[in-house]
Symmetry: C2
Subunit: 184 residues, 2 copies
DNA sequence: GAGAGCATGTAAGTGGTTACATGATTCC
DNA sequence: GGAATCATGTAACCACTTACATGCTCTC
């Protein structure tokens, strides 16, 4: 059971999901490819943390839908009592930013303009998701789901994503404002 | 030449550094252990991206101090013209946050209190560093080094670190304000 | 019929961590 | 003498990515 396994278990704990669904859902919090996820699910099934059910679909291929077991819930609770390890952020733009002085402002600006676009795209997606949660829980704007609501976790996470995204946008715009517009 | 190699090259481009120094300096932007860095430096030396000089020290063990070559500078410039790959963030706290509802508020609170302390520590370190840069470049509070200054990159990066840190602190405090204080 | 999305898996290779190994120097 | 920091390296292992492989279903 590594960190990604616990992450998958977290998602499954809220509602049964297929490996494919898990792969899509976990991206914002812990990027992982399907090739990493499927073997972990098989292991967790062997260790009775999850069970699966084969679900036939008429409009799509069949799938394995995983559910958490009582044993899995206990593992999750135990894991939550342990301190979280330090966050790891790896961003090539940070490395490039360190030596932008070597190249023309136009080249530097492009890096930050691209990144700005990336964050604007993310921002819109997070906004949509948070609106969905509020609709699902019948909440008004800015109202927070109750601590015991299964949506509480998703809500605080989306807020974090939203806040980080806005900060990143602010930073990119500031950097663009301090890079000279042109140079020959 | 992978991303970490270019990151090392970025740092070396500003001033000659030993493998040990590089290991310490690159942590905030691209965490890496010495065991990963030393072999990459040896490779880059073989490919004439960097050269090293053995420096004897009286108060400390001898070291290899690496400098960038003309060829290395060209590689850096070329790398800067390529778009930066998407940032990767992996934070165990995000996964735990998703299922905090399963445990008592006291256990959840601890996770965020610990993280808050972590970010406060970081914040102080970044503040100190930014003050050092402004002193080194003879700048006033809020004044930005010129684009061509070798400190420009470090300055914008430290600002990013500072802003992100503050946003994370804000988020942790908000989460603590929406987790009920106790429960029996 | 081709392409895109859904769905699951394995194999090979790279990136990154932990552990092993050594040794100098300084401070307590 | 022991612990901490500086300094460099290798080996084994785990995490992660890319590529290979297969097949269903829907839309154009």
């Amino acid at each position: 059971m590594n960190t990604l396994s616990y992450g998958l278990l977290s998602l499954i704990s809220h509602s049964p999901l297929s490996g494919y669904d898990l792969m899509l859902k976990i991206q914002p919090f812990w990027p992982a490819k399907h090739s990493q996820i499927y073997p972990l699910l098989a292991n967790m099934e062997k260790e009775n943390q999850v069970t699966f059910e084969l679900v036939s679909q008429s409009d799509k291929p069949d799938k394995k839908v995983y559910s958490i077991t009582a044993e899995g819930i206990e593992s999750l609770k135990l894991w939550l009592t342990e301190p979280a390890s330090d966050p790891v952020m790896r961003d090539e733009l940070m490395l490039k930013a360190y030596c932008v002085s070597f190249v023309d402002p136009a080249i530097s600006r492009k890096l930050f303009i691209d990144r700005l676009e990336y964050y604007h795209m993310k921002l819109q997606r997070y906004k949509d998701k948070i609106a969905n949660i509020q609709k699902a829980d019948g909440l008004k704007e800015g109202e927070v789901p109750s601590y015991r609501s299964p949506l509480f976790g998703a809500y605080i996470l989306l807020n974090k994503a939203l806040m980080s995204c806005r900060t990143n946008i602010e930073w990119c715009e500031w950097v663009l404002s301090v890079i000279p517009p042109e140079e020959k």
